[in-house]
């Protein structure tokens, strides 16, 4: 046997936790079909909220992936100004509850702009009105980029210094070295915590229900207010969130496995 044969790749692997996902989906289907009143009614009523929750979560997460990386690179910068500003941003944002931040962006921020418009007599500022979904996405992105930047930073710093030196010694500039050498390695390290951030963001997206966004949680509250059946309403809402987070967790596991096999 030769010593350096490539490791055999398992062609088929079954992730058993899919059973849990299937169980929750089955439970939802059973409730909807066996007890259509009220469960089917609830599902139909919150249907649009489901899409809003998914939409807000995915758009925010994609933005967080980009801004989190930029903040992480800023925190690793040699420039004291860039490093200082980004560190203050992370420390401040991490220290304020997500709910307070969302309320700030939706209620306080537009008022601030309007006041500036009044003071400086800028018409477009004075007439500024916040749009709920955009402000929710802005708020979640602003808050979660701070957390995500820490995940990126830990991942980048876990790659040995020699990798950057080897890349630079070949003539690559900092960004070329980051792109081709450091980040591809860091991504493998940070996949589990990034997946975790995604799941947390998905759950925290329920906070946008307080700033006039008709997401799943808000639609649930509306249904409860109209029909007075809190137990059934919140069981349904909880199961819908659970199915989404369990699915996300499976996706992360799949990506982890795939990135490991590429080695």
């Amino acid at each position: 046997m030769e010593k350096n044969v490539l490791p055999a790749r398992k062609s088929r692997y079954f992730d058993r936790w899919w059973i849990l996902v299937a169980a929750v989906v089955l439970l939802i289907l059973l409730l909807v079909f066996l007890i259509p009143k009220p469960y089917k009614d609830i599902l139909l009523f919150v249907r649009n909220g489901i899409w809003t929750t998914i939409y807000i979560t995915i758009i925010s997460f994609l933005l967080v992936l980009v801004f989190g990386l930029l903040v992480a690179l800023a925190r690793l910068s040699k420039s004291m100004v860039v490093k200082g500003v980004s560190t203050v941003y992370v420390e401040v944002v991490r220290g304020i509850p997500m709910m307070v931040q969302l309320i700030f962006w939706y209620f306080a921020f537009p008022a601030l702009i309007q006041n500036i418009g009044d003071a400086l007599n800028i018409y477009s500022f004075r007439e500024y009105n916040a749009e709920a979904i955009s402000m929710a996405i802005l708020g979640l992105t602003f808050g979660y980029s701070a957390y995500m930047s820490e995940v990126y930073r830990a991942g980048i710093q876990s790659i040995s210094k020699g990798q950057m030196e080897a890349a630079r010694s070949l003539g690559m500039n900092y960004f070329q070295a980051m792109r081709h050498v450091i980040l591809p390695q860091a991504v493998r390290v940070i996949l589990p915590p990034v997946g975790n951030e995604f799941i947390t963001l998905l759950k925290d997206s329920s906070l946008v229900s307080v700033v006039a966004v008709a997401d799943m949680t808000r639609r649930g509250r509306e249904y409860q207010a109209a029909h007075f059946i809190p137990i059934q309403t919140w069981i349904m809402i909880a199961l819908l969130y659970l199915v989404m987070t369990l699915l996300a967790a499976r996706l992360v596991t799949y990506l982890e496995r795939r990135s490991r096999m590429e080695r």
Partner: protein, 242 residues
């Protein structure tokens, strides 16, 4: 003869530690230089200053007529200077072939086919053409170091720097790396090597330099330095390594 590396009065501080205390050195084209000295003597630091992986605080270094001052010049110099590290520093997420083609594609803007052709020739040259599709983690230390040499050579450097290239290797793998280095020396490559491989020095070096305490203590052709050292410090050091 005009020197291809010119180091003038270089000082380097690590915080309070004065690591290089005014080192000057001229290297001619095609010369092979071996730097020896106890650990902490500044030999690796000096080597790393040549491609500015280490910033220096005072003095000047010119490589192939380009002074190491602006970021642009530093990158220009780095493309002409290959470096081989003690810990190999291969890119573990890329295959051996991709390790050797990456910088060619990114910096030299060579096509994939062209870069791969160059890479396969170089892997042939360092004696491991059959490992092209393996990952670094699947190779022995000696094989990894030879890939690292091929990776550096792929940029067609005018100068090669070796930072203790055999120190992290098992004894039976040292020779395969030294053989590759000897061949390079024969082909006329300008080489600066930090190493205690006395055999390599005798076979290939034009000059051996002994450093200690951030200074060059003595420099001479290998046989002269090893057999008739002038300085007490050199005699003391050689008595321990020979």
């Amino acid at each position: 003869m005009q020197s291809i590396i010119s180091i003038q009065n270089v000082h380097k501080y690590f915080g309070q530690v004065h690591a290089l205390k005014g080192v000057s050195l001229e290297v001619s084209k095609g010369e092979v230089i071996l730097i020896i000295g106890p650990s902490g003597s500044g030999k690796s630091t000096l080597l790393r200053c040549i491609n500015r992986l280490e910033e220096f605080d005072e003095g000047q270094i010119t490589v192939d007529g380009i002074p190491l001052d602006t970021a642009e010049n530093i990158n220009a110099v780095r493309t002409e200077v290959g470096m081989v590290f003690q810990q190999f520093n291969l890119f573990p997420h890329l295959s051996v072939l991709d390790n050797v083609t990456l910088a060619q594609k990114v910096i030299r803007k060579r096509s994939k086919a062209e870069a791969e052709e160059t890479a396969r020739k170089l892997l042939e040259k360092v004696g491991i053409p059959e490992k092209a599709d393996y990952f670094p983690g699947q190779l022995s230390g000696g094989q990894q170091q030879r890939v690292a040499i091929a990776r550096a050579l792929a940029m067609n450097p005018k100068i090669m720097l070796f930072d203790e290239p055999t120190s992290a290797l098992d004894p039976e793998m040292i020779q395969e790396v030294l053989d590759v280095m000897l061949n390079l020396a024969k082909e006329g490559m300008t080489m600066v090597v930090v190493s205690h491989e006395i055999g390599f020095a005798k076979a290939a070096a034009d000059r051996v330099i002994l450093m200690d305490g951030g200074l060059i203590i003595e420099e001479a052709p290998p046989l002269e330095l090893f057999n008739y050292p002038k300085e007490e410090r050199t005699k003391l050091f050689l008595s321990k390594v020979l």
